[in-house]
Amino acid sequence: MTTPLAHPSVNWLAISPELALAAAGVAIVMVRSVLRRRINTTPLCAVLGIAGIVAAGAVEYRLWHDLRHHQAITTVAGMVRVDLFGVYLGVVVLSATILALLLSVAYLQREQLDAPEYLALILLSAAGMLIMTTANDLIVVFLALEVLSIPLYVLAAFDRRRLSSQEAGLKYFILGAFSSAIFLYGVALTYGATGTTSLTGIADFLSKNTLLDQGTLLAGIAMLLVGLGFKVAAVPFHMWTPDVYQGAPTPITSFMSAATKAAAFAALLRVFGVAFPLYRTDWRPAVWALAVLSLVVGSVAAVVQTDIKRILAYSSIAHAGYILIGFQTQTSRGREAALLYLFVYAFMTIGAFAVITVAGQRGDDHHSLDDYRGLALDRPVVGGLLIFFVLAQAGMPFTGGFIAKLEIFSAAAQANQYGLLVIGVLAAVVAAFFYLRIALTMLTPGPDSPPAANLLRRVDVWSGIVLLACAALVLVVGVVPGAFVHWAKDATFLL
């Protein structure tokens, strides 16, 4: 006596961005294994990857337009929920992915790394991130977390010539596995407390039932917060960040900092916003503390760092703090701010890492400030762009960085979170120090210019596109922010 399996209905359009990326990734692996080593497969693989991303992007574009007039699409047995929020962050992820991919092409050749697997892993990781942005179930969130993380472990350790790369991979792996175990425990406890892992199901259950005993649920919420806090690099779960960002190949660092952050925040915002809004009085103070700690530690610790990638790693921790402010307010303006911030941050940080990729010497291991001495004098455009990107991250007016911070602080002010607001603005001042320090170093002539031969290398077309795109977007958002803010606002609407 069996009941026939009732196949869940599938809205293929809704899940095709993920599928496109996964397909592209698999295709690259296939190309690699079929063609072996007969021709240089890198351009082909890159084109395949770009095609996948573009296809995914086209679908997201279509979805965005569809969803502006319709309800969110819930499909595959309620496990996927495609709404403007998901599409928005999906676009951020896809943007970060394509930029990182473009950035990688020349890098891979310079560093003589195996391109196909590398590209495939990026695409698969990005697919995981897209899954994350539309996940409507804790177990999907968990699996997406793994899908996006495991390729990153590999990619971080990808450069076998550098011990630092492998060390980064291992550290990331150990801590990632540790935190995802904690996350999973949180899933289990939540499941026990509510009887379901579906986000909407949890919300539904909690709104209809009053728990006599909230202990299990609270413990579950705490564990979930820890797991996602790790991914967004919030203090005190941040300690992997500097080491991994420094050790990983630079394009991967840029990908991690932009895309992973977006995906992790997608999960954080969605899980806590959809499943546990009723418990916000309980978890908001914890998020408050995470935000404050991230701001303080991220901004302060970077002050004495000498490795530029490490500085940016700490700064990404601080940025996570700002986004957490938006999250913490639990208002629509706060979400809007967090979304805009993620969007702008992606371009600011990829832009900065792009310059580091381009200006770095072969071996990708010379990123101390001393190696960048005089860069802006020797190569005004490249150095100037890095200065621009770091100043944008510092919140310079008329850059996207300022608008993003403005939105975040507005949200804090509107939500009467004056403490966060003041700590936030003061942390920005401290952070300005190390951003300026980078600028200052690049404007100070070195004793001599040893890397001159290397420095005078031309920027390849792919990286050039990345640099230009990032700079243009950061500037455009800063000068005419209206549309971007509007889109972010739309994306919060259906949450």
Binding site: H7, Q112, L124, V147, V154, A219
Partner: protein, 182 residues
């Protein structure tokens, strides 16, 4: 009967776990891990989770632990570790955090663990006309959890590609220049 079995295997589980943590030789740790895994599988059986118990034995004990042992042997690290702790306060801190987290979870959850609605999605572990444990699990897995199931496929692809990339002898490129060690 279940009481006895529970306490027996619960004890074995914990003993195995402690063994994993405390054994100096990684090989011993792996063997203790097997003990724990098997004990957990028995506990699964005690809770009407036959399929999961079987898979636990097959996948974990059969595949994962073997993989561990394989790597241990491959790398030749089957020597006993020193138990010196170079990090100050690491052990007391770790122990106390472990104890505190345990206490906190127990305090929070200790009164009433499962507060969720029973048979939330219609198919229970027992009861109802859903057939055997395998059928029940399969039913849930291929309907409700179809999307996660597909994702696991992707995960496995990733694991394969990743392991290949990592484990590949760098034959096509010059041997890596070893860096100075700290």
């Amino acid at each position: 009967m279940t009481v006895v079995l529970f306490f027996l295997f619960a004890g074995l589980t914990l003993a195995g776990a402690l063994g994993v943590v405390l054994a100096r030789n990684p090989v011993h740790s792996a063997l203790f891990l097997v003990l724990t895994l098997v004990s957990v599988a028995v506990l699964f059986l005690l809770q009407d989770a036959q399929l999961v118990a079987a898979v636990q034995i097959i996948v974990y004990a059969g595949a994962i632990v073997v993989l561990f042992l394989f790597v241990i042997m491959l790398l030749g690290v089957d020597r006993p570790d020193t138990f010196e702790e170079p990090l100050r306060f690491q052990r007391p801190v770790a122990l106390s955090i472990g104890a505190i987290v345990l206490a906190e979870v127990l305090f929070l959850a200790g009164h009433r663990w499962a507060t969720g609605a029973r048979t939330a999605r219609g198919i229970g572990v027992t009861g109802g006309a859903f057939g055997s444990n395998i059928q029940r699990v399969a039913h849930v897995l291929f309907t409700t959890f179809l999307w996660p199931f597909e994702i696991t496929a992707m995960l496995l692809v990733i694991a394969v590609v990743g392991s290949v990339v990592l484990a590949r002898r760098s034959g096509e490129r010059p041997e890596p220049i070893d860096e100075s060690t700290p």
